[in-house]
Symmetry: C2
Subunit: 340 residues, 2 copies
Amino acid sequence: MQDIADAAGVSQSTVSRVLTGAPNAIPINPTTRERILEVARQMRYRPNPLARGLRGARTMLLGVIVREITDPFFASAVDAISTEANRRGYNVVLGDAHGHADEAIALRTVLETRHCDAILLLGDTSDQPRLIEELRDTNVPVVGLWQGTAPMPGMSVISVDNKVGPNGLMDHLLGLGHRKIAFVGGVSVEGRLIGDMGERRAAFLERAAAEGLEAPDEFVRDARNTLSGGAGALRELMALPERPTAIIASTDVLAIGALHAASHLGLQIPGQLSIVGHDDLPMAEYTTPALTTVRMPIAEMAAAGVKAAIGDSSSETKALQVLMPRVVVRESSGRAPGRD
Amino acid sequence: MQDIADAAGVSQSTVSRVLTGAPNAIPINPTTRERILEVARQMRYRPNPLARGLRGARTMLLGVIVREITDPFFASAVDAISTEANRRGYNVVLGDAHGHADEAIALRTVLETRHCDAILLLGDTSDQPRLIEELRDTNVPVVGLWQGTAPMPGMSVISVDNKVGPNGLMDHLLGLGHRKIAFVGGVSVEGRLIGDMGERRAAFLERAAAEGLEAPDEFVRDARNTLSGGAGALRELMALPERPTAIIASTDVLAIGALHAASHLGLQIPGQLSIVGHDDLPMAEYTTPALTTVRMPIAEMAAAGVKAAIGDSSSETKALQVLMPRVVVRESSGRAPGRD
DNA sequence: CTGAAAGCGCTAACAC
DNA sequence: GTGTTAGCGCTTTCAG
């Protein structure tokens, strides 16, 4: 930068002012400005974000802590967030918690140390009292995505309405004549119910009660949110003396695992059993049979999340935004057996 | 840091020396050291990586440019790399190229600007002459993963042997009596053959010729490496006057797409058609039927890649490492029709 | 409108 | 062994 100053015959601070853009009301002579810009271009100048950050300026880094990058849903989310962040000139620093909430908390510290301008939390972290605690004495804006609609103190939350999924699915299944509907929810490695999944489960329970369905406790199963978790849950469900005719999984990953286990059991889907999920992974369209599921507004959430985090400084008021998903009917759901 | 110095009654530079660890032979009085460490702990001191980086020290940032994070294979790779990097105290800055090689090149610049200590390239980038070019005048070590075994000038490459996959699969299929075997390769958005997939295709062609198989040109199809690409390829293959009895897909994503299209066509897998892939995604075990595929040594590659990038300063010689995958037989492959 | 100068937090010579 | 002293590249008062 000093070099540019010399070459352009001005002082280094002037160069800084020009190159920084034009934030605070410091007018510069258009002629000088052009000259400086020209020289900078010729010298292929590129600002050093480190130095900028040192001075307290923004680092243009967006920290993203994801519960599990191998979860295809979160992979899509990271993709969307990264796109949106790049569009705004930000880079994404990824922290992969590998499913452990305590790793997430460590990562937050790291990212904060890295002087990220903001931190995005993907996936539920409400089971981490320490995280919430630390959030208080943080000046970095933190926004949580996909971690349930419960407002978390100290951070804004972007979420989906977790009632419309289960309810839409119930409408669909009820309309198909199902009365024996089971639910598979997801729990973390530690065995806790995870945010969104917990809410979906609650929504299911509520609706089932309202409809007066025969829903014994065994019809609601918790499993790790993995393919094998879904498969295991399905096997347990099908081992019951009275089998459900439809299963709502709280994620597509669980649903796909269940689908696989069902076909291994020789079950016809959807002839003998309907299986539906949540998320609408890219994969959901390509399972056999294709999965009926609930599509999440990933891009919108990513946009809202990045906006909330980086702030577009126009409307930073709302601490909780709830977006709407919608049911996508494919082939894995059909009329209840004996009702066609 | 100055605060610590004051509190401990020493100079700031001494504090630096203690806190930095003990790199260059500068002995410090154990007593002083302890006192400083103690004070630092009490003051909850955390080093500022920005300032460190400014001074030319390492930033402990590892840049990772991935072709497509939504590709489950790369998601797994990022997961493995992130684990390995964190283990070594590094953080990962993620650059998602969204499938476009030209975005990758832009990202490289960004990451270099960010003063990453090294950059990892995930996926083929050989179609980017400019990238290679820019690589020359870079001081940051760059290592490429999964981009074919062709040595790239200016970077070390960690790769898998792309012959053992196709060959192992051929052994398997030939043993099952198949003589009409098709291959589906992957191309980028721009329509170029992508590194690993191109090599797998070449290996297939070579082996097919060696076996004297009836392999008309139509049996080798190129498709985008997506679920729908795989589905499209399968439909084309099955529309041929003479259909193949087995299909080798160069990735599991293609294979899963093909599986889905096949079942829509009413084809029995593996009764009427065998479909096999490459990668062994977590999902491969849960398709219907479960996919016969080639397992990639992801963790090993991640470890080797991170090691090569960050350097463990003991053995930095090899510019090209080739690891071995192995065939995993599941349910999607069976005896050739009419041969049982 | 522009220049001079003071650091941001830290490392690395170079003294003592 | 430990203190002093320069900066790294940039932003930002404070004077012209």
